[in-house]
């Protein structure tokens, strides 16, 4: 808890950031590319299907229209033919009869007929009903009159005529006996146009009719009026069969155009609809899809980042583990080499030390002789020699400790109950600890397996650590002892104190031989390095974690079966 692991900050975290970006970018790229591909495919598929549908609709509109218009025209024409068949020429040329017929037609066809006239073959009116005074008009020069003489029945193009208003003529030639005469009617072009213009579809769907010689028969969409001539290059008036259909761009307008010839290839029916209108649904869909894919992209991004975080945490964990292992390796190498060095020094010092001891001992022996008792400063010499002896003895102890630290051990491996061993060691110091108000808290794993290890050496380690913990607390505190079974055939023993803690700079050196913070003469600084050596030799590891003011935790991991490495000197 809040403990600071003895580890340097990773300088190589740059590699993590680079890795992170590398992975994030490639993930996102993959995600975006596949999303875009899917979106693109869907979009174009849908677009082509919309296109097909629009085509089909325009074609059907054109066909329907063609039917409606031709029906209308031929109905009017047929009605007039029926009139010429049902009524005698002699009757019809009478003004009142014609007026009766006109009244019926006007009523039946909703004022589509503007006027009605009976003409002789010279183009003179024999009778006339209508709003204009056309009784005296002669039509011999009119195009439709020429046509009707040849074709029996004609529907003219729209023209302005005498009255200067757009209209067209339906004329029927009939022969009764010797009499050949012509029934002529004017159809209001505006009324007719409304029939064409009435059929609207979509937002911009529009139909109009152009005569084969290029005059608008109904209003155009872009403002041309009836009888205006089609603008050059605006419309192709070549004859064709069936329905023509294509997409084109004119006057900054993108639209679909379908056209077909009607009225015996006399008029061209044109239906147009803007691309935007046709694709309106598609655009809406595209917008939704964009939102959908954007959300998907964001989701992917978030997922990627989350995965990344998880992955990086794993990587970091592995890194940390590796680093810890590296550090352990370095630490044990360091300790091994320091151990070797100190053993070498101890060995070299040993002989001179032995000689010093012997020489001073010899001098003491001499001073003890009878004949030396009276010499001046006898006591001073004795005292000085005793001190030399004592200090040589101190040196000897240090060298012996050092040598025992580095020498290979004969571990006597036995089955050990770690909980029991811990308790035994704790019991040795518990009473004394109680006097300093230090409480021992035990947290033992009751299912702790027996381990095979050297109990006396582990006891030495535990004793050492508990002593250290008590020294760190001094007065008032707790020492927590815990044992735990690990997943990997090992156990963990921890000894925590609530003592003063160890400063960061000391943590790295804590296992080094001769490292001590105690006063000179109070400690050799060998305790923890010996502990380290013992645990290593028993195949385990020992860690320290500490925070100044909070305490220190020593964690020992010991394998269930020792892998005793018998190190040579």
């Amino acid at each position: 808890m809040g403990m600071h692991m003895k580890r340097k900050e990773r300088a190589a975290s740059v590699y993590s950031i680079r890795l992170r970006w590398h992975i994030i970018i490639s993930y996102c790229l993959a995600a975006v590319i596949s999303l875009a591909l899917i979106a693109g495919i869907i979009y174009f598929e849908y677009r082509s299907s919309v296109n097909e549908r629009a085509t089909a609709r325009l074609v059907s509109v054109v066909m329907e229209h063609k039917g409606t218009i031709e029906n209308f025209l031929f109905e009017l024409a047929n009605t007039m033919r029926m009139v010429t068949l049902l009524e005698d020429f002699d009757n019809l040329r009478q003004q009142d009869v014609l007026e009766q017929v006109y009244a019926v037609l006007e009523k039946e066809y909703d004022f589509a007929f503007e006027d009605l006239g009976v003409l002789d073959l010279d183009g003179n009116h024999l009778a006339y009903v209508g709003p204009y005074d056309l009784m005296d008009r002669n039509y011999i020069q009119a195009e439709w009159f020429q046509d009707v003489l040849e074709k029996e029945m004609v529907i003219s193009n729209v023209f302005l005529g005498f009255r200067q208003a757009p209209h067209f003529i339906i004329a029927v030639k009939q022969t009764n006996g010797q009499d050949t005469w012509i029934l002529r009617a004017t159809v209001n072009a505006v009324k007719f146009a409304s029939l064409v213009e009435y059929v609207r579809f979509g937002r911009t769907g529009f139909a109009y009719i152009v005569s084969h010689d290029g005059y608008y028969q109904t209003r155009s969409r872009d403002g041309y009026r009836v009888m205006d001539h089609v603008a050059p290059d605006h419309l192709d008036l070549e004859f064709f069969e069936g329905v023509n259909f294509w997409e084109l761009k004119q006057d900054q307008r993108n639209f679909f155009r379908a056209k077909t010839w009607i009225k015996d290839n006399d008029w061209l029916l044109v239906v147009e609809q803007d691309v935007d209108d046709i694709y309106g649904e598609l655009y809406l869909l595209r917008q939704n899809a964009l939102i959908f894919f954007a959300l998907g992209g964001i989701l992917l991004l978030v997922l990627t980042l989350m995965t990344m975080k998880l992955l990086l945490r794993k990587v970091k964990l592995i890194d940390a583990e590796k680093e810890l292992l590296d550090e352990q390796l370095i630490q044990s190498h360091k300790l091994a080499s320091i151990g070797q060095l100190s053993a070498g020094i101890a060995h070299e010092i040993n002989n001179p030390l032995a000689i010093i001891g012997e020489e001073s001992g010899w001098m003491q022996d001499i001073l003890k002789r009878e004949n030396m008792q009276g010499i001046p400063e006898h006591d001073e010499l004795t005292d000085s020699l005793r001190e030399i002896n004592q200090q040589a003895g101190r040196c000897r102890k240090i060298t012996h400790k050092l040598l025992s630290f580095s020498r290979k051990m004969d571990a006597t491996i036995r089955e050990v109950d770690m909980n029991q061993l811990m308790d035994e060691v704790a019991a040795l110091r518990e009473r004394e600890a109680g006097l300093s108000s230090i409480k021992f808290i035990r947290d033992y794993d009751q299912d702790l397996p027996m381990i095979h290890t050297d109990s006396s050496q582990v006891r030495q380690v535990l004793f050492n650590l508990i002593n250290n913990a008590m020294d760190a607390i001094n007065k008032n505190g707790e020492i927590s002892l815990s044992t735990k079974k690990n997943k990997d055939k090992s156990i963990t023993v921890t000894i925590s104190d609530t003592g003063m803690g160890i400063p960061q700079e000391n943590l790295t050196r804590i296992f080094d031989p001769f490292f001590t913070t105690k006063e000179p003469g109070k400690g050799t600084g060998l305790g923890l390095s010996i502990c380290h050596g013992i645990i290593e030799k028993l195949g385990g590891t020992i860690f320290v974690a500490s925070k100044v003011g909070e305490g220190t935790t020593f964690t020992i991991r010991l394998p269930l079966e020792p892998s005793v490495t018998v190190a040579d000197d």
Binding site: A343, A346, H347, N350, N351, L353, A354, I355, G357, E358, E359, G361, W362, D365, A392, G393, R396, T399, H400, L402, L403, S406, R407, K408, D410, D569
Partner: protein, 150 residues
């Protein structure tokens, strides 16, 4: 006869000053001490001289303490040997004890400890010598008895 004489010690160590000084001190403790600097010299010495206890340093150039021990025991099985070990040679010392050494001491050692070990070794030797002498006496008596009977 032997009972009243001082224990005869042979001190073998390659460190000359240590050896000579220790020899002087042991002489002061009523031992009869000879000192030599190598295993070979020691072997030559025991061929010609009576020795009770050999104090033998394990780490020596040339023939080391353990080898010397073996040779000594071969030549004169009755001699007791006390080994002096440096540092990491405790195992070797224990090994030496299996080969017949009386005991070992870590160097540098207290003179009193050394004296104690030497005395112990000497006592063992003396006791064995005594038993040997008694056995010899008995066998001599047996022979005598046989001679008398016939």
């Amino acid at each position: 006869m032997q009972d009243n004489t001082d224990p005869r010690i042979l001190l073998v160590d390659d460190e000359e000053r240590f050896r000579t000084t220790l020899a002087k001190r042991l002489k002061g403790k009523n031992f009869e001490v000879a000192d030599l600097g190598s295993g070979n010299e020691a072997l030559d010495y025991i061929k010609d001289n009576q020795v009770d206890v050999v104090v033998l340093d394990i780490k020596m150039p040339g023939m080391d303490g353990i080898e010397t021990l073996g040779e000594v025991k071969k030549l004169v099985p009755g001699i007791e040997v006390v080994l002096l070990t440096g540092h990491g040679t405790v195992e070797t010392a224990v090994e030496g004890m299996r080969d017949g050494a009386y005991d070992y001491l870590m160097k540098p050692c207290e003179i009193d400890e050394l004296v104690e070990k030497i005395n112990g070794a000497f006592a063992v030797k003396k006791e064995r010598d005594l038993r040997l002498k008694q056995a010899e006496d008995r066998s001599r008596l047996d022979k005598l008895e046989k001679a008398v009977r016939f």
